[in-house]
Point group: C2
Chain length 352, copies 2
């Protein structure tokens, strides 16, 4: 099979971790007789520096023509704490999500037995946790009308959803629940927000099409609590853009394996795969960042974008093996030897 993949390394540790994922993908491709055509493109602060735009048209062209996009991370401290900055790396991210139509962000949270003691939660709370969030990614308050009034003294943002947008996301949620443990939680704030009431009534109307799925409706504040108390009580959760932003990040730290969590953003035509960690500028260029979240994002890509289960499993297996054998970067090494980013990549390639 010929796989056309756009490669967006981005900022900070992005390029380093992406390098390892590319090596691993190439090794898998070789083993299973595929051919990968990688096309690199600029994004984030790197793109602002080069062409004054965080998501240049050329990058968009490359992504549109690819079968899938593998993404590193974007963001640079230079743009933080400056509310007046005109161009920001984050704008590139939002523009990319919208222009590529990546409406469903898939964020799993699961545990690795060998890392469970890294969790801030007690073992009995976190054990067995295996949940996945589906966050709506191209609408809501992220993309609504916003601005200032009264000479800048008043600011507003608008959260808008259409029934079609909710349906499209919820459909993926129901399907995912069917393929997993048949439990779906719709997270909203229907006791206050009109957009949430649209979410809830739309999902309620879809229940009859998936009679096997047990659906629950929970307020976002209640979910923020239960995620810390009983994360293993959840299976699939669906939610709107902003709630998803907050809750998926909250969920990501409970497993203790934040540095390992992959994600996918699905669109009608193309899809994008990226580690959930950020650009971690303090570590950039030091060859110390953990590449496993990016490598596992590549595994998600094989599975989700290309339907190549075996290849995905091969990657997951070699990652498990590296963890068991302690071939890990300093964030996981504890008192044992810490390997470099590139050394972990090399080891994975060798053992694929």
């Amino acid at each position: 099979m010929e796989l056309n993949i756009a490669l967006l390394a981005g900022d900070g540790i992005g390029p380093e971790v992406i390098d390892q994922a590319v090596k691993v993908c190439d090794a898998v491709a070789k083993k299973y007789d595929h051919k990968i055509n990688w096309t690199s493109a600029l994004t984030g602060a790197a793109a602002i520096d080069a062409v004054g735009e965080p998501y240049p048209n050329e990058t968009h062209e490359i992504c549109t023509n690819a079968d899938a996009v593998l993404f590193g991370a974007i963001g640079h401290p230079r743009f933080d704490n400056d509310p007046s900055a005109k161009v920001r790396p984050e704008q590139g991210l939002l523009k990319m999500r919208q222009k590529l139509g990546l409406f469903a962000n898939v964020r799993p949270t699961f545990t690795f037995p060998s890392l469970i003691d890294k969790s801030p939660l007690k073992q009995e709370r976190i054990e067995g946790t295996d949940l996945v969030f589906l966050r709506e990614l191209t609408s809501g308050i992220y993309f609504g009308k916003r601005g200032r009034e009264d000479n800048g003294e008043t600011a507003y943002d608008t959260c808008t959803y259409t029934r079609e947008e909710v349906k499209r996301l919820a459909k993926k949620g129901f399907e995912m629940a069917m393929a997993r443990n048949k439990k779906l939680c719709c997270v909203d704030k229907a006791n206050v927000l009109e957009s949430s009431r649209l979410w809830r009534e739309t999902v309620q109307a879809m229940e009859k099409d998936y009679p096997e799925v047990e659906v629950s409706y929970e307020f976002v504040d209640a979910v923020a609590m239960r995620l810390v108390q009983w994360p293993n009580s959840y299976d699939v959760l669906i939610t709107e853009n902003l709630f998803g932003d907050i809750l998926t990040d909250e969920a990501s730290v409970i497993s203790g394996s934040m540095g390992l969590m992959p994600s996918a953003s699905l669109g009608e035509k193309t899809s994008l795969f990226e580690p959930i960690h950020g650009s971690y500028p303090q570590a950039a260029g030091k060859d110390i960042a953990n590449p496993l979240a990016t490598v596992l994002s590549a595994a998600m890509m094989f599975e989700t974008a290309f339907g190549l289960q075996e290849e995905a499993q091969a990657i997951k297996n070699v990652v498990d093996k590296s963890l068991e054998e302690g071939i890990v970067t300093e964030d996981l090494a504890g008192d044992a030897k810490a390997y470099k980013t590139s050394e972990v990549g090399d080891w994975l390639v060798k053992h694929i």
Copy 2:
């Protein structure tokens, strides 16, 4: 001193826990030679049943004429999962907040040494946690324009903030930080939302008036993570209404003492004190609910509304003592004897 207090018991376990707080307040008043005039009023589902309105005008009159309001809990399952319900208990809550001008919700999270093993977090993560959230409570997306368009197919909500609203809340935050550990965290989503950029620039401009306070700015998603990872790294946090709703609830479960957490809602003229737990309808009428959060809310009332530190401390001390001696309701009893709600109240009164 003569204390005029409006008493809003509300729904579910509200009346039972309020009863205990009233007993404790009366005992403290007797000891310190104060006179409390209690005036009860209807609210929540109870008020809907009686007069068709969750926050009747008569109740508002009573609250307005009081020096402080002591509140139980509202909410009834009969109104949940019914997006079409015309009148809901929650509307009463929102109307009350707005009509009484309760713009600052104060939500402390602290630990009780004797309860630390109830926390879902590992002891080393939670130890020493003593933070307080100031949540803006009368503006933002809770009170902005909302509605439907396209024959109900599109729903929208608006988040609006004025610079004055932000200043008013932030001022309380800076003052509270000065009285505590001089650390203030402004929680926003300034990389996306215009209203958040107004928050950030307003707080930044106030920094010079409080040179001793160390101010940090963090995105809401990052705070949702760090609250689970390192809750003891925070002191005072300020945030807008919806973020505050989610994060204060998340923060409330980390200590393991959720059933004990009090809160205050401060206005220009009056203030309201309530436990953070809900109406817990399953337990209503069974005399099993934990009254300590309401009792500690009464302590906050003595301190904050009336400036009576010693009286507040007397309540906190007797609560500590009851915990040490295991005079606790079933939620905290474990394998030991569980006391009834009213028995705990009686014990507190006796030992004041």
